[in-house]
Amino acid sequence: MKVLYFAWVRERVGKAEEVIEPPASVTTVGELMQWLAGRGEEYALAFAKPVIRAAIDHIHVKPDAPIAGAREIAFFPPMTGG
């Protein structure tokens, strides 16, 4: 499963993307964020704030969205475009 990070989430994690293999017990976006947060200090820092947004395959999703079948999951701060 490919994971992308943007803006200060990317800066804190220290990379723009990576391929991860979470355990089968991780089934939702929210659980994936918790799992990522436990992967090290930089991840804990990146995922400490509850404001982080997620998208699965280019669609905004909420933390309770299932990750089964996702090709690409992205994490990022609230958007500030326009």
Partner: protein, 159 residues
């Protein structure tokens, strides 16, 4: 009868845009366009008294186009638009530079105004772009999202 397809242009680019050329692309040679609205978002030199020397726009390629396209399709479904263009720049910009352009065309003014406002409200709150500001002193900081931008969306909700 489903309506004929209308010209829709969505571009994410580092280069600047030409408002007059984009208006002409939606209006030239057409007898059904009576109203064209444009919105240009421009990089300001400060916010609340604090100077900004530059702005860097990061975006999520692929999703940004898809998210804008979804909202353009929704605007076209809601109002009788004859054409829509959205251009969003990315990369490093300085005060005075253009950031974003929305152009909507219609037979009458109301649809053109509503379509442009709807698209700007959604671009601000939903399009995956992030702004980082550089200041005269100190490190660059990521712009925080405004509650007012989420609040602006309530206007467009059904019912």
């Amino acid at each position: 009868m489903s309506p004929a397809p209308i010209p829709i242009t969505i571009r994410l680019q580092q280069a600047d845009f030409d408002v007059a050329a984009e208006i002409a692309a939606l209006a030239r040679g057409r007898a059904d366009v009576g109203a064209v609205v444009t919105f240009s978002g421009i990089c300001r030199g400060g916010e609340g008294g604090e100077a900004i020397t530059a702005l860097t726009l990061e975006h999520y390629p692929g999703m940004a186009e898809a998210e804008i396209r979804r909202h353009v399709d929704e605007a076209v479904a809601r109002w009788p638009l004859t054409g829509v263009t959205v251009i969003h720049r990315h990369g490093r910009l300085v005060p005075g530079d253009n950031i974003v352009l929305v152009v909507t065309a219609s037979a009458h003014r109301q649809a053109a105004f509503l379509g442009a406002e709807f698209l700007m409200d959604y671009l601000k709150a939903n399009a995956p772009f992030w702004k980082r500001e550089e200041r005269p002193q100190g490190a660059a900081t990521w712009v925080e999202a405004h509650h007012r931008d989420d609040a602006a969306l309530t206007r467009w909700k059904d019912s």
